[in-house]
């Protein structure tokens, strides 16, 4: 039973760890396919034209193309100002499809309707019926035409009502989305009907962003290198097709952090097996050794009756194997379900999770089963061998203890001072080294496994903490236009507030506060 237990535990853990990463990837892949997650988001300095869209459509591997209007504006909600990201399409998006969580979907006729994305990280919680009013400052857009700047209205409607909440395959992580307005953090993400957006003279509705999917994406598991490799080629072709930025999935914060985190379990899974197998073999060995010792006189009787050593050993082999197989039968379903679900739920602290999908790694199950069975066999044979090597005459007698050697400790001066009881137990510890060692190793191994298991859960949870306190040790990201970045005004402002610049990227400066 102990053998069945330890094998069940070890193999379940092993299989669980091995399938967890594939499970996560499979679950998200299913969700991505079902919601038609964009492979690329195209952005441009100016709006996309009809010709641009045709050129994008003309790229060979492109499947779907969705032009949309996206813009970050400031809105007033219940008397306070928030940063709001607007997406507008003329019908329900066929790429990055929304999954309605509450309320209703847009009817794509009423301009004032919006659907809000389920909040993540420190976003505001949208409530059905909430009214958002675009602030005065955000209502207009400056466009350059005929060498002059015009201020044109962005919207046809300035008041919106939240009709429903929905999840989007591009927003599910614990990271805040950043923007270049207000405090730099997006509070609401909204999907609206294109009729809410104003026509701009001579241009019409502006296309500020284009979502694109590639033909063969569904053939690859998301979050894998296979997918990355496939998509790289498509990305190049899209880049060559026009004058725009091609942002792949890795520039999406949610996807990127998930792709980093999903492989963590897989890494743990490569270290654990050796450990598990060692502990399981040790427990199986000591159990069978003990059993054979207990059955000593019975083995002697059987041998006196003319049973062969192999016939007697086969009883223990049968026992070991049936325990092993029972363990495996328990382990496979447990390992395929419980551990992946536990890990999956741990990921729930960081991500909005889609429906869970199980995978079964048959090769791994096969290897685990084969290794367990071979190990059990081997261990059983080794455990029986010493008893069966004895002559039947001697096995009928109690095992002759090894002559009591003096242990090293006895030579130490304080030995004589110890009470007899302690001397006796110390002596036993050192004389029965195998038993002692086995107990120590088994306890150490099991302890280590438990601690490692807990540590694993903790570390998944701790990622959040580490990410923001250790890795993101900066205090502010300042979004600046390229000409302002080098200005004296900015450096004066920074030194005034005791900020030190640590890194400069296109359009933003990352700083730490020196206080």
């Amino acid at each position: 039973m102990a053998i069945a237990g330890i094998i069940a535990l070890g193999v379940a853990f092993l299989i669980g760890l091995t399938v967890s990463t594939p499970d996560i990837k499979k679950s998200f892949t299913e969700y991505f396919i079902q919601s038609n997650l964009a492979d690329f988001s195209l952005r441009s300095e100016s709006a996309f034209s009809e010709e641009d869209l045709e050129r994008i459509n003309g790229v060979d591997e492109v499947e779907d193309v969705l032009p949309l209007f996206s813009y970050d504006v400031t809105c007033e909600v219940k008397g306070k100002e928030y940063n709001v990201r607007f997406y507008a399409t003329d019908e329900a998006p066929n790429i990055n499809k929304l999954t309605l969580e509450s309320g209703e979907m847009l009817d794509y006729e009423t301009a004032s309707q919006v659907v809000a994305i389920t909040p993540f990280a420190s976003m505001e919680v949208p409530e059905l019926g909430d009214k958002l009013v675009v602030t005065e400052d955000s209502r207009n857009l400056t466009v350059e035409m005929f060498g002059r700047e015009f201020s044109v209205p962005l919207f046809d409607t300035y008041e919106f009502e939240i009709m429903g909440t929905a999840t989007s395959p591009s927003y599910y992580s614990f990271f805040d989305e950043t923007c270049l307005i207000g405090d730099g953090k997006v509070d609401y993400i909204l999907f609206a009907d294109l009729s809410a957006i104003a026509d701009i003279p001579t241009i019409g509705k502006m296309t500020t962003e284009v979502w694109v999917t590639a033909e063969d994406t569904a053939k690859y598991t998301a979050l894998t290198q296979d997918y990355d490799k496939y998509i790289r080629g498509v990305e190049e072709d899209l880049n060559d097709a026009g004058d725009w930025y091609v942002l792949n999935r890795k520039t999406n914060l949610s996807y990127y952090s998930l792709s980093m985190n999903a492989d963590k379990v897989a890494n743990v899974a490569t270290v654990f097996p050796i450990f598990f197998i060692a502990v399981a073999a040790l427990v199986a060995f000591s159990t069978i050794v003990r059993m054979v010792d207990e059955d000593r006189s019975q083995i002697g009787t059987l041998r006196s009756l003319g049973y062969s050593g192999s016939a007697i050993a086969s009883k223990y082999i049968f026992y070991g194997l049936s325990a092993c197989i029972l363990g495996l039968l328990l382990a496979v379903p447990l390992g395929l379900t419980i551990l992946p679900i536990v890990i999956w739920n741990a990921y729930g602290s960081m991500y909005t999770l889609p429906a869970f999908h199980f995978t079964a790694d048959f090769a791994m199950i096969g290897i685990c089963s084969a290794v367990s069975i071979v190990a059990t066999l081997l261990v059983t044979i080794i455990a029986c061998a010493s008893s069966l090597k004895e002559t039947p005459a001697s096995i009928l007698q109690p095992r002759a203890p090894k002559p009591g050697k003096r242990i090293l400790l006895e030579r130490l001066p304080f030995w004589g001072l110890l009470p007899f009881k302690h001397k006796a137990s110390l002596r036993n510890v050192f004389r029965f080294k195998r038993n002692f060692l086995m107990t120590v190793l088994a306890v150490a191994g099991c302890g280590a496994l438990i601690i490692a298991g807990m540590g694993m859960l903790n570390s998944v949870a701790a990622v959040t903490d580490l990410q923001f306190n250790e890795i993101y040790s900066y205090d502010l990201t300042i979004g600046v236009s390229s000409d302002y970045a080098e200005s004296a005004e900015l450096s004066e402002f920074l030194s005034d507030k005791k900020y030190m610049e640590v890194r400069k990227e296109r359009g933003s400066i990352i700083v730490v506060n020196l206080n």
């Binding site: 019975q298 009756l305 049973y307």
Partner: protein
Amino acid sequence: MSFIELKKVRKTYIMGDNKIHAADGVNLSIEKGEFCVVVGPSGAGKTTVLNVLGGMDTVTSGRVVLDGKVISKMNAKQLTEYRRHDVGFVFQFYNLVQNLTALENVELAVEICKKPLDPKETLRLVGLGDRMKNFPAQLSGGEQQRVSIARAIAKNPKILLCDEPTGALDFTTGKSVLALLQKVCRETGKTVIIITHNQELTKMADRVFGMRNGKVIYEAVNDNPTPVEELVW
């Protein structure tokens, strides 16, 4: 040539620096169907001789022959075969398998034999016809010993080797066990060898060996063995 012959049998145990000659040049011959008793003080080498004869142990040197088979030359596999078909053991502490019933204990023994006797019949023969379904723990010492005798004779072996079969039994129970063994010897013609400390038991034997210090120090043939019932000790 006798049915059983031991020639210059020596069994030496090496304990650290000193050698112990558990059997130190034992010679003995026993005829088929004889009821033999081996006596001698503790440590004389009686069990050692019996083990060697029963194929439970190997000799250091010398020759052991039973019914023309040279036991002392057999390898482990042949010894297993030999024990299976030719030898029945009865031990001082019965050595029954605790989680098997009386009947199952006998069946366990005959399962691997070529031409065994019927286990139930054998149990009836030893007077345990109505205790077959009992486990060893539910039987008295004498009853357990009778199960172990049934187990030994059901194998239909050539010799019965009994190491102090009455050692753990009281006077009357011991007597009934010995009577049983003597009856088996007389009725089935099997050769029976019994080890004992008890000098009195030599009177019931056809042949007696006295041992001391690993040697046979005397041999006596009894033309008129006393029936067990008349013995007192």
